[in-house]
Structure formats: C-alpha cells, structure tokens
C-alpha cells in the first residue's frame, strides 16, 4: 500500500487533488502558471487602465498610451468626478448619487434579509402544506424577466403612493431579492441538525423563540454572506434605479451612466474613469474585505440548490 502511494506521488503532477510533491519548476507547473498569468492580465487590465487614466491630465491622455503610467500624477479628475461634474441640471458631482445609493442600499439590504431569513427558516423547519408550491413559484419567479413585471409594479406603487419614492425602490429590492435569499437561508437551515430543532420544540420553544434564540445566532455567517451578496447586488442595480426613482434620487450607477454617456461636451476620460472607479469603491471594498466569505456564500447558496 505504501508502495502504491509512493508511486502515485511520483507520477504525473497534473492531477488536482490528492497528495503530490511540491516541485515548483516542473513543466506542468510552468504551463499552469503561464496560463494563469495570461488570464490574470485580461482580468486586471481594465482596472489598471482605469486607475492610470484617472490620474492623468487630459493632454497626457491624448498623447500617450493607455497602458503607460502617468508622468505627472493629478488627483484633479477624482475631485471633479466627486464634487463638480454635471448631470442634467445638478452640478454637484457623483457625491449625490453616492448618498442616494447609501439611502437605497441600507434599508433594502436590511428588509430583504429580514424577510427572506424568516421565510427560509419557516420553509426548512416548519414545512406546511402548500409551502413548496409557493417556494417553487418563487424560484421560477427569479427567472421571469423583470421587464414582464415592471409596468404593473409601477402602477401598484403609484396606487399606494410609493412610486418615485425611495420606499418604493426598497420594496422592489426586497421583493426581487427574495428568491435567491430564501434559497440561501432555506439551504442553510436545512443543514442544521434536526435534533437541535426537535430538542428545542420538546422544551416548548415556539417559532419565533427558536428563530431568535437558536437559529439567528447560529446563522451569523450566512447572514454576513447575505449582506455581502445583497449590498453588492443593490449597489450595482441600474434598471430599478432608473425606473423607480426620480432624477434627484438616482443611484450612483444611473448617475454614472448619465455622466459618461452624455453626448454633450468634450469627453473627459480621466474624470469619467475616476467616476467609474468611485462608483466601484463600495462593492470592491466589500469584496476585498470579505474575500473568502464572498466565495463561500456563492458556493453555499448555489451548490446545494
């Protein structure tokens, strides 16, 4: 047996799993790292170009290559993008969109997760007749193109006086976040040992007690994952922002697109790129801080579903 293992370790090192020697300069490794580095360039290039261009002055952009680092670093484009660039009648820069996005994202994340976590918990532990029917509709609903539902939602929101209001947009985000979040929480709570749940019920604990006292503390990691997913998704939303808010309340994505794709005036590439980077700061920060949790969330939500 030891012999077999030895043999295996010596044979070709291309296999993914299983023990193998850590020889760095084998031919296989050179190929692997080569491909990885080439691909990494494809992924990093846009970010690099954005950053470099945003630090250059306009004359330098016209002269030089996009790949060249700035000869003279200037933060003027960043300043202009944040506080003075114009969209429509407003000339107070992207900062307006930034605060709008905050005002939209924070309550949307909170409500969508609160509703979906309770729902996922009910679906996994308190199964009742018909629950699966609604759950199936919910999951299928996630695939209905938004365009099919948008106009009636506009009418409904207008009826209850929330159309154009931030509250309406929060409601819309809560509704459309429900399928994926419910799936995420349902899968998570399904993996909780049933004995735990049964023991709590034997002790007389009811629905909400079990949720707040046992499940909620246990599920902190999945809540963090949900917050990461939702914050990113809502911050990056464009379509709902365009439809359900007034220009004064436009989220950052919409404002960014209006700034950059406006046809009037000279194209200030450096300001545009600074603006683009600015609107990516929040999701990128979340991503880099949460790193593995982001990944784990994607895996947890998806693989079991």
């Amino acid at each position: 047996m030891a012999d077999v293992t030895n043999n295996m370790q010596r044979s070709s090192p291309a296999h993914a799993s299983g023990p193998k020697p850590r020889r760095i300069f084998s031919r296989n490794n050179i190929v692997i790292y080569g491909i990885l580095v080439v691909l990494a360039v494809y992924y990093l290039l846009p970010f690099y170009v954005m950053l470099m261009t945003s630090l250059k002055g306009l004359p330098e952009i016209r002269m030089g290559s996009i790949f060249a680092p700035p000869m003279e670093v200037t933060f003027e484009p960043w300043h202009k993008a944040w506080s003075t660039v114009c969209t429509g009648l407003n000339c107070d820069g992207l900062s307006r969109g930034f605060w709008n996005s905050i005002k939209i994202t924070v309550p949307s994340v909170f409500f969508s997760i609160a509703v979906a976590s309770v729902n996922g918990y009910a679906l996994s532990m308190w199964r009742f007749k018909g629950a699966n029917v609604f759950f199936t509709i919910l999951i299928i609903g996630a695939f209905i193109p938004y365009q099919v539902m948008i106009y009636p939602i506009v009418i409904l929101l207008r009826e209850i006086g929330l159309y154009g209001d931030l509250g309406g947009l929060v409601l819309v985000h809560t509704i459309f976040g429900m399928p994926i979040l419910t799936l995420l929480f349902r899968n998570y709570f399904s993996s909780v040992p049933e004995e735990l749940f049964k023991a709590a019920r034997v002790d007389g604990a009811r629905f909400w007690t079990i949720y707040f006292k046992i499940m909620l503390p246990m599920a902190v990691p999945i809540f963090v994952v949900a917050v990461i997913l939702q914050t990113t998704a809502i911050w990056n939303d464009f379509l709902f922002g365009v439809i359900f808010t007034r220009p004064d309340n436009y989220p950052m994505t919409v404002q960014l697109n209006n700034i950059v794709n406006s046809v009037t005036g000279v194209k200030e590439y450096n300001v545009n790129m600074a603006a683009t980077l600015l609107s990516g700061v929040v999701p990128l920060t979340i991503y880099f801080l949460s790193g593995k949790l982001f990944v784990r969330g994607i895996a947890a939500g998806a693989v079991k579903g």
């Binding site: 692997i32 992924y43 846009p46």
Partner: protein, 297 residues
C-alpha cells in the same frame, strides 16, 4: 398543542404561515399577478396609458414584423449561446487550474472574481474605453509599431456583439470559476486516487468522471448564467447603447424603450411576454426536475 411536545393539527404551523406571507404575496401578486396582467394587456391597444380595448393578436403580429425586435432576438440568442459555452469553459478551466495546488491561489482567485463585484455599468464603460480604437487597445498596440493593427469590435455592426461578449465574460466568468471550484473541492480525493491507480490520464478523469459528478454544479451554474443573460440590459446600455445602429439591441432594451420612451405600452407588453415564453420553455422542464419531481428532505 400544549399537551405534548409534538403539536398536531391545523394550527401547528400558524407562525410559519404568517412568516411566509411575504413570500406568498411576492409569488402570487408580483410573480404571477403582474406577469398575467402584462400578458392580458399585451392583447390591447395600450399606448401612453393602459387601455382595455381588445385587439387580439395584433400587437404580436406587429412585433414580429418589427425589424428591431427581430435583431434583438437574434442578438440575444447569439450572445446567450456563446456566453454560456465560453463562461462554462473559461470558468471550469480557471477552477481546474486553481485546483492544482498552486501557490498564490487566493491571489489568483481574487483577481478572477473581482469583476463580478462591479456593476454591469462599470463593466460596460471600462470595456467601451478599452475597445475604443482611438484611445484603447488598438491605439496602444499601434503606437508600439504595429500600424495596421485593428481591434475595434464596438464600431462594426458585425462584431459589436463580440465586444459586449468580452465584457460580459470578464464580468461573469469569475463567478463560474467559484462555483466550479466549490464543485471540484467537493469531489472525494478517493476518486482521484482510484483513477490514478488505474492509470487514467487527468484530462480523461476530468471529462469522464469529475464533470459528470459535478452535474448539480453545472446545472446551477447554467441556470444562474441563463437568467443573467436574459436580463442583459445594463451592460449594453453602458457599453454600446444598442448601437452602432441597431446592431447590439437586446429584447430587454426593446421592452424598456417601448414602455418608457416610445409610449407604446402594448408593444412593450407583447415583447416582454415573448421573453417570458422563451424563459418558460427553458426553465419549466428544469424546475420540474429540480423541485417538482423529487421531494426535498
């Protein structure tokens, strides 16, 4: 229900039913109700405002006679098929490479996934600049001395979709990699040991053993990407605005413009209903297999 630890009867799950009200409302009012509303009104002559004047299938006849709609459908089909194939291939390749016990695994993974954290608007704008011939990659390569180098997919009717595809792939493939990597890591080491003992080459093991074992991951990924593809809208808006001409129009944009720009509501309703039909044809069989056919435990 207070007599024993095991409550029985109709009310045993009352709290759960209350907790599920938002789900029920979302499912019935929004997902079913609003969809049905749109379908019903697609048979009317609504223009600026919804109208109840029934015109039968007129809107659909007009829709399928509209050049812009036909182009949109064709574009989405081409984009969708290529995107599915390339995202799966690239995502799996990345995952398999990263799974080779490499160094800097976290670094590479961070690099491949970060575009997914950015919005489609950001993605579209960045690639609009990179693919801009006067300013982007073409110009940079030309300035290196390759004067005749041409790379301007966004300015050519025939290639603009591939330009959008490059951006879409940049955004999404990291996600696919993540899902695939989770799938690969979920495979028992013994499988690899067994195939090694039998002397089966690695690529064959991937193809014949590992990928079939990862069927659930592939299905999940497929469904996730497909739903993202059908919603394709922001990326096109930011990157090409549908142009040049109509060359990168997509159905979602057609619907939006009909409803909110051209004040041609019923055309928008008819078009979105057609999108729904397309989704149903793809999704229902899958949903039946995944959720209806077998009981979840």
């Amino acid at each position: 229900m207070s007599q024993s630890g095991k409550p029985t009867g109709l009310f045993k799950n009352l709290s759960a039913k209350i907790a599920a009200i938002p789900m029920v409302l979302t499912a019935l009012v929004v997902f079913v109700g609003c969809s049905v509303w749109t379908i019903v009104y697609s048979f009317t002559n609504s223009r600026l405002l919804p109208s109840t004047k029934w015109v039968g299938l007129d809107q659909y006849e007009r829709l399928w006679g509209t050049r812009r709609w036909l182009i949109s459908i064709e574009n989405l089909a081409i984009y969708g098929i290529l995107m599915l194939i390339l995202a799966l291939v690239l995502g799996f390749l990345l995952a398999a490479l990263i799974d080779q016990k490499i160094r800097f695994e976290d670094g590479f993974r961070t690099i491949f996934l970060y575009p997914y954290a950015l919005s489609f608007i950001v993605t579209g704008l960045v690639w609009q600049w990179l693919l801009n011939p006067e300013f982007g990659i073409q110009n940079a390569v030309r300035s290196l001395g390759f004067e005749s180098f041409t790379f301007d997919p966004l300015y050519n009717t025939n290639t603009v979709l591939y330009g959008v595809l490059i951006a879409g792939l940049w955004h999404t493939s990291g996600l696919v990699m993540c899902l695939m990597l989770a799938g690969l890591r979920g495979i028992d080491e013994d499988v690899w040991k067994a195939t090694k003992i039998d002397g089966i080459p690695a690529w064959k093991t991937y193809l014949l053993v590992v990928i079939p074992m990862m069927r659930p991951v592939f299905i999940t990924t497929l469904v996730l990407i497909t739903s993202a593809i059908i919603k394709l809208y922001d990326l096109v808006i930011a990157q090409t605005g549908g142009g040049p001409g109509l060359a990168s129009e997509v159905p979602a944009k057609f619907v939006f413009d009909m409803m909110f720009v051209s004040q041609n509501l019923a055309q928008g309703f008819a078009a979105s209903s057609m999108m729904l039909v397309a989704v149903i044809v793809v999704i229902i069989p899958w949903a039946y297999l995944e959720f209806g056919g077998k009981k979840h435990g």
